[in-house]
């Protein structure tokens, strides 16, 4: 059994961070409210259960935070750690800029924090370790493997489409003066839904699931998502890379089969080196899938320096 955990260590770590972040966001919008000397737990700000005879019993009863200060406030579009350090979604930042909105200091600082973290270290790791849609698309991929429909696809289009959609969302933001991608993003629907209540956003998420399951493998994240494209660009020169060792490889191709962006593994079976393509989401699936120890995470620069000695 221990073997299972080691074999899936990155998968477990990813589920832990993805769910942990959602949980922290969720908790920060949980609160206690006292009505008639009784404390009630409120989550997602939903007071509906306190409506009696069209009167809202909770009105004007002030709330107390469940955890104060909340560790992670807001949602993935914009958040604050411990009510202090801002983080903002880089694509949201760009959209505000193009939509002609006002760029505040917090929004800009939050953007810098993200660019720093992902630009220097994690690259497109956001997609694998933070983005909640990854849970949905991984589920679709899992079912594909179980249902043996892995290679069925109804539509085919280029993986570069996401960059075109990125450009389009900025252009439409400029044209309409509203955050174009934010208005339809299933990612936002999901994380906002968890914190503030789902509503109709459920259908957007279902659409992504069905699209990935029946239409195109890794259709949303691999081909369409402009946020993934943004993180690709930000993390183009990031340090964390997957390293491949040709000598150990037995060319079983397990890694290529499992990789959600398998075009980045074009060096497999050809030459040793780093996975340098910007689309790599650093999920570590290939490393786990490899039974021959040919793949590793590596902080690019440290290793190359050592090798030179």
């Amino acid at each position: 059994m221990k073997n299972y955990y080691i074999k899936n260590r990155f998968l477990i770590l990813r589920r832990f961070t993805q769910l942990g972040i959602l949980l922290l966001f969720f908790l920060s919008n949980c609160s206690l409210i006292t009505i008639n000397n009784k404390e009630h737990l409120i989550f997602q700000g939903n007071l509906e259960s306190f409506t009696k005879n069209e009167r809202n019993l909770a009105i004007a009863n002030t709330k107390t935070e469940l955890i104060a200060p909340p560790i992670l406030m807001g949602n993935l579009s914009g958040s604050k750690i411990l009510d202090f350090l801002p983080m903002s979604d880089p694509l949201v930042f760009l959209q505000v800029f193009f939509a002609g909105g006002a760029i505040s200091l917090d929004l800009f600082l939050g953007f810098l924090v993200i660019v720093f973290i992902y630009g220097i270290f994690l690259g497109r790791g956001f997609c694998a370790f933070v983005c909640p849609i990854n849970l949905i698309t991984d589920l679709a991929n899992f079912l594909r493997r179980k249902l043996k429909i892995e290679n069925i696809r109804f539509v085919v289009f280029s993986r570069q489409t996401k960059f075109a959609i990125l450009a389009l969302s900025l252009f439409l933001s400029f044209l309409f003066g509203i955050l174009a991608w934010e208005s339809i993003s299933p990612i936002s629907m999901l994380h906002r839904g968890v914190v503030f209540g789902m509503g109709m956003g459920f259908f957007g998420i279902l659409a992504v699931f069905l699209f990935d399951l029946f239409m195109l493998k890794n259709g949303f994240c691999g081909h369409l998502c402009p946020l993934g494209a943004t993180y690709s660009i930000i993390g183009a020169k990031s340090l964390l890379k997957v390293q491949y060792d040709l000598d150990k490889c037995t060319k079983c191709m397990n890694c290529v089969r499992i990789c959600p962006e398998n075009q980045v593994l074009d060096l497999i079976g050809k030459h040793s080196g780093f996975v340098n393509k910007i689309a790599c989401i650093k999920c570590g699936r290939c490393i786990e899938a490899c039974d021959d120890d040919a793949l590793h995470f590596n902080l690019l620069n440290f290793k190359t320096k050592k090798e030179k000695k």
Partner: protein
């Protein structure tokens, strides 16, 4: 043509096709999704609110009264409130505005002598439905007047004799449009089945006088007369003669 180049060209055309098709549907959606313009936004929402708010919900979390919600119609995720459910309580420290990371809720709109002043908020403006308001029907009621945080300033009572009885008074609530913050406490308090006083956005309520009118016997406004240029109506003579012939009427 080599196959590699053909493939690239093919995929570029494909992307362009896909993107323009998707872009059309997307634009149609964005152009339609304008419901939000009638929603009441949190205090100090700036003019280009929809292009600056990032839908993070920090304001929603900051409000101690559960007033704010994120919209699920129009452009989803925009914070708004429904006064008949929960009005804005006009907190003196305005936690929602302080929490906003983007200045979509703009502190500067509330500053008086460098201090936050919630009475400068203009979330909307209350309007009385004089047809259904029971005070206009001659029944004594001052629920909205009593509920107003700016009582006697944003809303006041005007006494008028009841012409039906000839001996009673009507106590009519009147809203001062320039002072009302649009918090909606009046709408919440209204006793009629559907509130007869409602908060609406400014552009749904307010008219515009234009500069050509001057309030008589108002010293300040009359000063404008001294600097006013006489405006001549610039009728073009030619036009007046030709319009019948040219059918440009």
């Amino acid at each position: 043509m080599n196959p590699q180049r053909r493939r690239t060209l093919k995929s570029i055309t494909q992307i362009m096709g896909l993107v323009s098709f998707g872009g059309l549907i997307w634009s149609a959606y964005l152009a339609e999704a304008k419901d939000n313009t009638q929603m009441l936004f949190p205090p100090a929402a700036r003019d280009n609110f929809l292009s600056t708010c990032i839908k993070c919900g920090l304001c929603v979390e900051a409000c101690p009264y559960y007033t704010l919600k994120l919209s699920s119609s129009g452009i989803k995720g925009i914070p708004f409130f429904t006064p008949r459910d929960i009005p804005c309580f006009m907190c003196e420290d305005v936690p929602c505005v302080v929490a906003c990371p983007t200045s979509a809720l703009d502190k500067n709109l509330l500053l008086t002598n460098n201090k936050l002043d919630i009475t400068k908020a203009r979330m909307g403006v209350a309007v009385v439905d004089t047809f259904n308001c029971i005070a206009y029907a001659g029944i004594q009621c001052d629920a909205c007047y009593r509920a107003c945080p700016l009582i006697d300033k944003a809303i006041y009572l005007e006494y008028k004799s009841n012409t039906r009885t000839g001996k009673h008074a009507l106590l009519l609530p009147i809203v001062a449009n320039d002072i009302c913050t649009g918090c909606g406490k009046c709408e919440k308090a209204c006793v009629t089945e559907i509130a007869s006083i409602k908060v609406l956005k400014h552009d749904q309520v307010l008219g515009k006088m234009g500069t050509n009118y001057i309030k008589g016997w108002d010293k300040k406004d009359e000063e404008r007369l001294e600097t006013a240029e006489p405006q001549k109506k610039k009728d073009s003579k030619n036009h007046a003669l030709d319009y019948l012939n040219e059918e440009s009427l």
